[in-house]
Symmetry: C2
Subunit: 458 residues, 2 copies
């Protein structure tokens, strides 16, 4: 196949590709809102039909929630699975949008032309880069150069409740040599990136109970145990004064960054001051002696995401509450077992309870960190492909958040993932006025064509 011809066709077809993307963006597929269930299905059907139009054997697979879109293309060579999601976040507060969120438009900004709509970046624009690359290859060469399965879910923005059951039940049909996931971002405006490690997450909610009922601090203040006092003391002990997490065994099993990755990360010239300055901060608050990128990509954390107890309205009420609670999350890295850490955290809390206090725990998510096998040849192919489309050399980076599907592919299907995406920090995903750079859409499409071509030829 002639890569140049394919790339030329992508360039020539940019406008029709945008029209297709706008059709998909116009469908308000908000998965968390039951009122939009028919719209979510409509987006799935749109994708199924689009895949079929390129020669995929495409179908919707119903789940207890929203359907999975699955397309199979039986080409030669290695088998690739592409993952994306067609559902989007809610649009509240609607008043903060400058244009209707489901009336997609192109807009010129000081930083270039952007596609403005809910879902433009997360994830409809990203997933369409892959489909447009496939379309151009099929149009130019008559077929895809490898076996490709496209797997698009409609519940990513509402916790993917059907994903794990689906993978367990029907995942073998999806199992490929490698999964390609397009739901991540660039390192910077000019430097594309392949995310090779993602932190895991453990969420815990704890409710400390002291007295049976709320008490008046005039009558009981001084003699009765206040559960806020107990909770704040426990939470204050989560970190020592070097920023290290104090739950026993927390750091067990964690490996240091490889010298290669450490050198690559150092070469990225991450501007800690600028990164923090954008949000009004200046000092890194993590473990002493770690770089900023380590703090967000390769070191585990403990954070209190929410705390409440007593009277929190306007004015003042001298109450000693019966209960106080907090939501605590841990970002995990490779080597940490979330289930084991959950128990260690709970034991650590229980050991600090004074007499007369009890604690109840509610477990939230528990997903291990992901670390990709970057020795797979596709990683170098993808790095070259991305480097050819943007000014800067593509980097292998870490991700501070979780993309649970990568973990599920590994755990349930034994399949590695390659995460390449073209989002920018200012895309405002999940926020009003979400956008996707036109250059991300265009060069992203070209990059996938290069990657598919490279993998087919490897």
């Amino acid at each position: 196949m002639s890569l140049d011809a394919i790339l030329a066709r992508i360039d020539a077809d940019l406008n029709p590709a945008l029209e297709r993307l706008f059709d998909l963006l116009a469908i308000p597929s908000i998965s968390t809102d039951p009122a939009h269930t028919p719209d979510v299905r409509r987006a799935a059907e749109w994708l199924r039909d689009d895949l079929a139009s390129m020669g995929f054997d495409a179908a919707l697979h119903d789940t207890p929630g929203h359907p999975m879109v699955v397309g199979q293309y039986d080409g030669p060579g290695p088998h690739l699975l592409f993952y994306g999601h067609y559902d989007v976040q809610p649009v509240d507060p609607l008043a903060l949008w400058d244009h209707p969120p489901f009336a997609p438009m192109l807009e010129d900004t000081p930083k270039g032309r952007v596609i403005r709509a809910r879902g433009a970046a997360d994830d409809k624009g990203q997933l369409m880069t892959f489909l447009e690359a496939c379309r151009a290859i099929v149009a130019e060469t008559g077929r895809l150069p490898c076996k490709v399965t496209v797997f698009v879910e409609g519940e990513e923005e509402s916790g993917s409740p059907s994903l794990v059951p689906y993978l367990k039940e029907r995942g073998q049909a999806l199992k490929a040599d490698l999964a390609l996931i397009c739901d991540t971002g660039m390192f910077s405006d000019d430097v594309p990136a392949i995310t090779t490690q993602l932190r895991g997450m453990l969420g815990e909610e704890l409710v400390v109970t002291g007295p049976r009922i709320d008490l008046h601090s005039g009558m009981y203040g001084g003699i009765a145990m206040n559960p806020i006092r107990v909770l704040t003391r426990i939470l204050a002990g989560l970190h020592d004064d070097q920023g290290r997490v104090q739950v026993p065994g927390f750091y067990d099993g964690i490996e240091e960054l490889s010298p290669e990755l450490a050198a690559q990360w150092a070469g990225l010239g991450f501007d800690e001051g600028a990164f923090l300055g954008e949000v009004g901060l200046s000092q890194p608050a993590g473990e002493a002696g770690r770089t900023g990128l380590e703090m967000i990509w390769s070191r585990p954390t403990a954070e209190v995401n929410g705390i409440t107890g007593g009277y929190t309205g306007a004015g003042f009420k001298t109450v000693l509450p019966s209960q106080a609670s907090a939501k605590v999350s841990f970002r995990l890295v490779a080597g940490q077992d979330p289930i084991r850490l959950r128990e260690r955290f709970r034991d650590w809390v229980r050991a600090q309870l004074p007499p007369d206090c009890s604690v109840a725990f509610h477990g939230h998510g528990a997903s291990p960190a992901s670390r990709m096998d970057i020795t797979h040849p596709a990683f170098e192919i993808a790095r070259r492909a991305l480097s050819q489309e943007w000014p800067g050399e593509a980097a292998f980076i870490g991700g501070g958040g979780s993309i649970p599907v990568a973990g599920y592919f590994k755990q349930i299907l034994g399949m590695d993932s390659l995460l390449a995406g073209f989002g920018k920090d200012d895309d405002a995903i999940h926020s009003p006025n979400e956008k996707y750079d036109l250059s991300s859409f265009h060069h992203g499409t070209r990059a996938w064509a290069r990657i598919l071509s490279g993998i087919a030829g490897s």
Copy 2:
């Protein structure tokens, strides 16, 4: 004057006295609810007319809020000021009342006959004990035996916003040799009490700000300072492991309990286990080495009355909030200056802030503790009077809460107060099904007749 005849008249007139009280209780004088403003005024007018019917020169004094009721009786001998309040708490949740809150009724309970209505104990029933005593004395002897000013406010349940301005502007007309305040309770069912010391209160709200906006813990977790972490660390340091408050200078100027009061309190047989057991606790949580009564009556405290930050709804959100806040109150005892302690607390907090965090303070109440001069002869007169009406000997007790008016009388008018009241712990003031024991109403009226007679003859 013949005390026996007066007491006999009180006994004989109990039913008409109850009818008068029920008339007043039927007026829904909820001061905090603007919809009830006309009712609040109606209660004031009712009291003005009742005072006038006994020969008081009575008037309403308008304020920016609800009116003050002032009645002057120009008798011989010492000048006494009586204080009460005619407004009541809201009645929500109405569904928890067994009877309509403003349809007063007598009800027989296992512990005796009670008056059931909003305001029965707080404070209409209590204030009417004094007025009924005056009525019986006037009816039996033709006049009151001393100069009496009755001063009844209508904003006590909504923070008394007009009280201090009124006292500053027109308080000289109220200044008496001693103020009598009837808004407190018995020590136990059989042991009446005179409250000789009340804790003061300092309320502070602090808002810690870290990042400019809420952050996602995937992207920023580890590198960005979380203000909940800062706030919990500061609040956890409020107490040491002996329960002592750690704000520098907090205990400066506090005197130990006098041996006499300590002995009297020890003699009360306070059952710490029962007191705590009622609210599901067993261990006193205050300063090590202090008795339970010291903890609630004569030692200062620090309590977090409310805390909030981050996501506190259902489920989980991995947010690093921009802000976290807490409401902290200090119960103060004699010798502590609330204004000075406010500054010390703020300095102590500021000194603990890490880089990148700021704190804003909002001051709430700041009232010093009150300690009455129990060498005033009225205290022994009142103690004898109360001891003659109940099975147990009357006690000089402390109060854990604040009755700000006693402090204002002292600060603004230089006037001491004697606090005698007949409420019970189970009166459910501020709650549904508020009640006042019929025996409290009856013996309270008799006790005031004894006290007035005693003070006049002293």
